[in-house]
Subunit: 248 residues, 2 copies
DNA sequence: TTTTCAATGTGTAAGATATACACAATAGTA
DNA sequence: TACTATTGTGTATATCTTACACATTGAAAA
């Protein structure tokens, strides 16, 4: 997969010429969630010789905010057309405390629009960019110190995700095509931060009529082989429109 | 009450000098809801020789977005410290289609951050500003054509309000201090857009333990006098923190 | 090969919550 | 004084949520 780049050749050119391409004072930050090894993960970027931060970017002059967020997401993950939703705009004038890039457009006050994405972990090949040295998944419980107010942004995304669990079967976006009921349950438990009853969970999930149990079972585990399930895409799509309600 | 003004003496000065005071490309629009005569209302502004629009404004360089929204709200209603919440940022580059103020900072592409407010109708004294000729309440079912994407913004606010009804006893903000159970029910019915059962509604509302029934009854109506209620402020505050759940 | 282990698959009863529903009381109006 | 439209109130049913235990099985260990 080709490495994707900013439309600039160097950090300096980006700082000097960014204002021609991007709207000033505005950025987009993405909280990209994945699920792996029974843990909820978030994709973070490390600035060269700097702290970790959320993958973000800027809004081009003739681009919608959604398009910007999709572009940024694609640059970091290689994915497009996955679940991506705006959740809040952060704009405390003190949020860049500590940032000192005098003069440059990037040194100005920024208001950032937060998006959260749900992606399938195994499909993602994290990509750093010109300004960053590393891009990798972190367990949400173990994220390091983040720059500016990015921890706050992440927490608000997590909170939003928790709420949206009720009207949105997030498993569809976060799990691989075929998955087991215990996996699905772990996902819910991780997002909600509390354990759920196995039998009741299964009952509720199946009662939504969105899951199809496959003939196969998942082998390789050390114990009894669980069934595999997949989402019924047709029902899933129409359920999203009607709006569904799950509660725990 | 003194008329509140923009920090400019004229429309022209505002257009020419606005960029010194405000962040470019960014605005805030408020969907201000009130409740009166059993109907949900929204406060709209009419541009001089132009269409109706949501009351909005711009973000000062050293002001948080919340502060901007509060300022704008105060300018239009005279109220402060009422319920005001950010709900979405709108930024389609085509949203200003039809707007033609060449050259001026205000003619640029704008991304607007939407807030919705819940206010007590009787407390509000609508104030037009330099740029507008009129400011008044409209029944949400009867709002006229609005400028740009303001109708979309209003609809999203309405949708958000509908959802937030579940974790937020909106009556506290929209109704006068003393109100009747039928009034409260009408409010819910209006927001939800569907009729509710009188007995079940009352049962649920009272079961929240947020209401205090007063000795007085409301007189003047043509029929049996209903009791008056008020919110139990203490319980209300603590319930908001714990998060409460109402469902219909 | 057998035993052990830890996880999976499954149903029912009790409790809580939501829904459906009807008649007596009353304040103002005619 | 009678009428009318609105308010106040309780119960039975259905639905949904919760709590809970044992037999099965695949792999690993003995």
């Amino acid at each position: 997969m080709a490495k994707r780049e900013l439309p600039f050749q160097s950090r300096q050119e980006f700082h000097e010429e960014g204002h021609r391409v991007f709207l000033p004072h505005l950025s987009v930050d993405c909280v990209i969630f994945g699920f792996h090894n029974d843990a909820l993960k978030v994709l973070l970027l490390k600035w060269k010789q700097g702290p970790w931060c959320l993958p973000g970017g800027f809004i081009k002059h003739r681009e919608s905010i959604d398009q910007s967020a999709n572009r940024i997401l694609k640059e970091r993950t290689g994915l497009d057309s996955i679940f991506l939703e705006q959740f809040y705009a952060f704009g405390d004038p003190a949020r860049e405390k500590g940032k000192r890039v005098k003069g440059a457009w990037i040194g100005k006050r920024f208001i950032t629009i937060g998006y959260y994405a749900l992606v399938e972990y195994s499909q993602v090949f994290p990509q750093p960019d010109l300004l960053s040295s590393e891009c990798r998944w972190w367990d949400v419980d173990e994220v390091p110190e983040l720059i500016y107010d990015h921890k706050e942004i992440m927490n608000k995304a997590l909170y939003t995700l928790r709420l949206s669990l009720n009207d949105h079967p997030v498993g569809y976006n976060l799990l691989p095509e075929k998955f087991t009921m215990p996996q699905l349950q772990k996902l819910y438990e991780t997002i909600l931060g509390e354990p759920l009853d196995r039998r009741n969970f299964q009952k509720q999930m199946l009662s939504l009529n969105l899951l199809i149990r496959l003939k196969e079972r998942k082998t390789g585990g050390a114990h009894k082989a669980p069934f595999l399930y997949k989402f019924d895409k047709k029902r899933y799509s129409s359920a999203l429109q009607t709006g569904l309600r799950i509660s725990f």
